[in-house]
């Protein structure tokens, strides 16, 4: 049985890398006696994947994992799993998923970020300038050298949410992304500012919606109009 789990990665686990997190899940599943399906082949590996890799040092209340179990899963098994997870890793919800559905990783389209800032007034100007810019060139280190990309199309929303907080809706996934650190640097903010991921969204034909909200039917994924979603321009 295949399921998607939404979980929070909080203090003190913000320092775990993506690989550390994968190992943590695999071991927790074995502690909970919940057998996972293995891939076929010479070096079989457990079928566990994630929607997106969270940057090290950042917390999140909306991480998603995609697991193929070798048995039926109910709330009882999920409670058992929660009981062996370390402090800082809290399961927020889950749903069964058709075996044929695409992976979360293939569908993820954006993430919402919350940034704690010292003063909203101080960022207001640079924020407006940034949103009005047609091009926002940033440099990224690639294996073959430094590459310059235009970040602007990947910044979907940017707004002051409170006197001490900024919210960003940034593209994520294979089709191009903006990293929170890159946007913060453009705003002249410290990369170490307190960043938290508050939602991870799948991209479905120009719409963005949470993996727990979308409609799933065999291979088909569609937007659930009764729940929150975003429409991309």
């Amino acid at each position: 049985m295949r399921i998607w789990i939404k979980f929070a990665k909080d203090q003190p686990l913000q320092f775990l890398s993506h690989l550390d997190l994968l190992r943590l899940w695999q071991r927790a599943l074995r502690r909970a006696c919940l057998p996972v399906q293995y891939s076929q082949g010479f070096n079989p590996h457990p079928k566990i994947s994630f929607a997106a890799a969270l940057p090290v040092g950042v917390t999140s209340e909306a991480e998603y994992t995609d697991i193929h179990f070798a048995q039926k899963i109910t709330d009882v098994e999920i409670d058992k799993l929660q009981s062996v997870l370390p402090q800082g890793l809290q399961i927020k919800g889950w749903r069964p998923v058709p075996a044929a559905a695409k992976t979360l990783m293939a569908m993820v389209g954006a993430q919402r970020w919350q940034v704690t800032i010292e003063s909203a007034a101080a960022v207001q100007t640079s924020l407006e300038q940034l949103l009005q810019a047609a091009e926002l060139p940033v440099q990224r280190q690639r294996k073959k050298g430094v590459k310059t990309i235009n970040l602007r199309p990947y910044i979907y929303r940017l707004e002051i949410a409170a006197a001490d907080s900024l919210e960003m809706l940034l593209a994520a996934g294979n089709a191009g992304s903006a990293k929170p650190r890159e946007v913060l640097e453009l705003l002249g903010l410290q990369a170490h500012s307190n960043v938290r991921c508050i939602e991870t969204l799948l991209q479905i034909n120009g719409f963005l919606q949470s993996p727990l909200a979308v409609l799933l039917n065999e291979k088909e994924v569609s937007v659930n109009a009764e729940k929150d979603y975003y429409q991309l321009r």
Binding site: P12, L13, F15, L16, S17, L19, D20, R23, L24, Q26, R27, A28, L29, R30, R31, A32, C33, P35, V36, Y38, N43, P46, V56, G57, V84, P86, Q87, H192
Partner: protein
């Protein structure tokens, strides 16, 4: 900062260091207790990085023994990596335990694992970072007692001044006795505590023993300074390993460590009698755990950790009396949970394709064999007791079972070694490649030949031998490099200077105390890591104290010379070691003592009733 080291560390240091998961301290199965609620607080210090120290079984055993008692607590501490260390020094932040971020100086007892000589300078760095006075003589009533234990404690004299006491031998029974005594005498003065501790079997208080030297400075021996102390400190021995405590709740690290797996200790001790091997002497006699005990432990370990791999550990796992039953039954059980078994210490002559396949049901990992020397003559000298045919048979079986890569371990610079012995290594490698072509032929074989430099160790038949010179080591390495330019063969070797330092420290005495202090002051640390090892600084530290590092490594002792570790009784007599040394020089092999007692002396040290393999010993 005084009361909130944790908050300070998490805010100002952790976010800025490499691999912060080394310092989190809240891993699954880590034990956190309230310092106010316990009678005794112990810091278990491993003088290397987290990923090395966390791979060490001894530390897990001690952590378990102490924490299972409600009245005591044990927390871990490792050497911080250079980036974190620099930051801690700049911010004057003291070395703290992982679990509760408590400064080391606030513990009652700080215990260091003495696993290898190359960690000695790191111990001194850790004491300095912890603001604990370096020498026992300078510590006051408020400072913790500093204790060392582990294999290197069998010659602790180079570290004598830095430790309040040492534990020689198995800790499973000695440690609770020590902690019990310290709990009962909490308010006693340091000197009084040490006097009481010295009465426990296996405890050595270096300040109670004096080094004697002739007028010309020649070493004459180390003697007890008071009449009621034993002339020789007897090693602590756990007689019933099956009943001894064993940790099933391994701490599960977040980041990857060197040996990232469960370890199940099948037995302690080895009867093979390889003449270079210190472990083969200091862990005598063989004491096994029962198959049922092991299976039960294994089940609990998987349940409490969720690990995907378990290593069956011992000095020579093929010698375990129930090996086939255990591997077959445990392998089948663990495979159902996707857990693989590995057998890292399998002698060539006990290897079979069947056994290997049983083990590698889930994942096939690499195979490693240790012929140690390239010719039968030299293997006879070191009493390795395996033949070329054993090796070829083992690799043929491995290749037939589907492996295509093997690693072969050898040593360079063994006593009596000639160029012919070295060329024999290349010859063996060639034959292994050929065996692959004959038995399978699919693709290419990968044969890795790893050659380390021989380091003579205390309490072994080769304890009297010096190392060859640095120039000679380099010449022999070059010879091997040339000879091993073979298709399908990869040659691995390390710098010779770390081996020289290891040799110089392994067989020295108290004259090395100021050398170590100076080396640490010069900044030496983490010497087992090529990127941190600074040979020139060590040479300087030796020179400034009137010693020459290379001469110390090359020093040969005469049979009648008093040795700096003569006042430690491992159970094996010096006469036996000498006899083995003479047989080595004559090229005579000595059989496995399971086939008949060789009178090494071990049987005498043990209690009458329970002697392990020594139960059948011939006592004359």
């Amino acid at each position: 900062m005084k009361n909130n080291y944790r908050q300070y560390f998490w805010q100002h240091i952790l976010p800025h260091v490499e691999k912060p998961t080394r310092y989190l301290g809240n891993e699954v199965n880590a034990v956190v207790k309230d310092h106010q609620e316990v009678a005794l607080r112990v810091a278990l210090a491993f003088p290397d990085l987290y990923e090395i120290g966390m791979s060490h079984l001894g530390l897990k055993i001690l952590y378990h023994i102490i924490n299972q008692e409600e009245k005591w607590l044990a927390e871990r501490v490792f050497m911080p990596a250079p980036d974190a260390e620099r930051m801690m020094r700049e911010l004057s932040f003291p070395l703290c335990s992982l679990e509760t971020v408590t400064p080391l100086a606030a513990f009652d007892l700080v215990g260091f694992t003495l696993q290898y000589e190359l960690s000695y300078a790191t111990i001194l760095q850790m004491l300095t970072l912890a603001n604990i006075p370096l020498t026992a003589a300078d510590r006051g009533e408020d400072d913790p007692l500093v204790v060392g234990g582990g294999p290197a404690a069998f010659n602790p004299e180079p570290l004598a001044a830095f430790f309040d006491f040492f534990v020689i031998g198995d800790a499973e029974e000695a440690l609770p006795q020590i902690l019990e005594l310290l709990t009962e005498n909490k308010t006693a003065a340091r000197g009084e505590k040490l006097r009481l501790l010295a009465e426990i079997a296996g405890v050595y208080v270096p300040s109670f023993y004096r080094e004697q030297r002739s007028k010309s400075g020649e070493y004459l021996g180390t003697v007890a300074a008071a009449a009621d102390l034993p002339a020789k400190v007897k090693r602590a021995v756990v007689t019933d390993l099956d009943q001894a405590p064993y940790p099933t709740d391994f701490i599960v690290p977040y980041g990857e460590i060197v040996h990232d797996r469960l370890v199940l200790e099948l037995f302690r001790g080895c009867t093979r009698g390889c003449r270079f091997c210190q472990a083969g002497i200091i862990y005598r006699p063989v004491r096994e755990r029962q198959v049922d005990t092991l299976k039960k432990l294994a089940r609990q370990m998987v349940r409490s950790t969720g690990y995907e791999e378990m290593a069956l550990s011992s000095l020579s796992s093929g010698d375990y009396s129930g090996i086939e039953q255990l591997v077959c039954e445990l392998g089948a059980e663990l495979a159902q949970e996707g857990v693989s078994l590995s057998l890292p210490s399998l002698r060539l002559d006990s290897f079979s394709g069947d056994l290997a396949e049983q083990v590698q049901r889930v994942r096939k990992s690499g195979l490693t064999f240790a012929p140690e020397a390239g010719t039968q003559r030299l293997r006879d000298v070191i009493n390795k007791n395996i033949t070329e045919e054993d090796l070829l048979q083992a690799v043929r079986e491995a290749f037939a079972a589907g492996w295509n890569s093997v690693k072969l371990y050898f040593m360079l610079g063994l006593p009596t070694e000639t160029d012919e012995d070295l060329l024999g290594i290349a010859d063996l490698a060639r034959k292994v490649v050929k065996a692959y072509q004959q038995s399978s032929g699919r693709g290419k074989a990968r044969v890795t030949v790893s050659v380390s430099v021989f380091v003579p160790k205390a309490h072994t038949p080769f304890q009297w031998v010096g190392q060859i010179s640095q120039a000679e080591m380099l010449r022999r390495q070059a010879l091997l490099k040339q000879a091993l330019r073979l298709p399908g063969v990869q040659f691995q070797y390390h710098g010779v200077q770390t081996s020289m330092l290891e040799a110089a420290l392994a067989r020295g005495g108290r004259e090395l105390v100021p050398v170590l202090a100076r080396a640490a002051a010069l900044g030496c640390k983490l010497d087992g890591w090529d990127e941190h090892f600074a040979y020139e600084l060590w040479e300087q530290a030796f020179k400034e104290n009137g010693l020459d590092l290379e001469s110390c490594a090359q020093r040969a002792y005469a049979a009648e010379d008093p040795l700096p570790w003569d006042h430690f009784d491992t159970g094996v007599s010096k006469g036996y070691l000498l006899r083995e040394y003479q047989r080595a020089l004559a090229g005579q092999v000595t059989k496995d003592c399971r086939e008949g007692c060789l009178g090494c002396g071990m049987a005498v040290l043990l209690d009458e009733e329970d002697k392990g393999v020594c139960a059948s010993a011939d006592m004359d």
